[in-house]
């Protein structure tokens, strides 16, 4: 009570209102989108070239430092962007008690997929 009284009007105003990090999700979704434009176009173009290739050619391509680096970056941006997008979809259409468990499960799935994908790339890279 005494603490509230000692605070300046500006201090009180800054402490009120929303959590003030609401814009963060919106911003990260845009930043990952910008990152995904070159990354996905590169990946799609590379796949057009390598799609018909056999195992050895595909592995040789995946083992190049450029491809490995860009795929790890792609997976990071992709699953970050995907989690934010699916979060909005769930929040818009699921209004039952299932909403929170679904949101958590979706987050976990995105995280697991990102880790599994990155580990797969690293395994290919460092097999030697």
């Amino acid at each position: 009570m005494g603490k509230e009284r000692r605070r300046s009007p500006l201090g009180r105003a800054l402490g009120l209102g929303s959590a003030k990090d609401g814009v963060e999700q919106w911003w990260v979704e845009r930043v990952t989108a910008v990152a995904l434009v070159p990354l996905t176009v590169w990946f799609a173009a590379s796949n057009v070239v390598h799609m018909s290739s056999d195992y050895a050619t595909a592995i040789t391509w995946l083992q190049t430092p450029l491809a490995a680096t860009l795929i790890v970056l792609l997976l990071t941006a992709l699953f970050g962007h995907m989690a934010l997008g699916l979060q909005v979809v769930i929040e818009d259409y699921v209004h039952s008690g299932l909403k929170l468990p679904l949101l958590i499960a979706m987050r976990f799935c995105c995280f697991v997929l990102a880790v599994a994908g990155i580990l797969a790339v690293l395994r290919i890279c460092f097999r030697g």
Partner: protein
């Protein structure tokens, strides 16, 4: 007192189903649907990477599946969803930056998104088939 106010029926906006579909609304929901569809393909991407990491036998299983007609159809769907979400996403980024809000521009960019998505999908497959054959 508080419960009686919260239980009172609030006015609702009309359901979206009564509106005639327009390019703007169709592309809006198409961007969302293609995003969800691409999420499923993202799972396939990770499976493909794990298959490649597991060795030649697992990789060839994934490779053979992609060569079947259903695999090719799924890949075609993936290509179109990707380009639709990519072009639609770039349109959204332009809006976020504050450009293209005039009605004429919105329709022009909308038709451009559709045309580019179709053209890029066909181009990708033409090049892919050309390189393979």
């Amino acid at each position: 007192m508080a419960s009686s106010t919260s239980k009172r029926l609030r006015p609702l906006s009309p359901n979206v189903q009564i509106y005639r579909p327009q390019l703007t609304s169709v592309l809006s929901i198409a961007n969302r649907i293609s995003g969800v569809v691409l999420s499923i393909y993202a799972v396939a991407l990770v499976i493909w990477l794990i298959a490649a990491a597991s060795g030649p036998k697992t990789y060839s299983t994934a490779h053979v599946f992609m060569r079947t007609w259903i695999g090719q159809l799924l890949l075609f769907g993936c290509t179109f969803s990707f380009f639709l979400h990519l072009c639609g996403g770039i349109r959204h980024l332009a809006w976020d930056a504050g450009y293209g809000f005039e009605l004429r521009t919105i329709y022009a960019s909308g038709w451009t998104v559709l045309a580019m998505s179709a053209a890029l999908t066909l181009l990708t497959w033409a090049v892919s088939i050309g390189l393979a054959g």
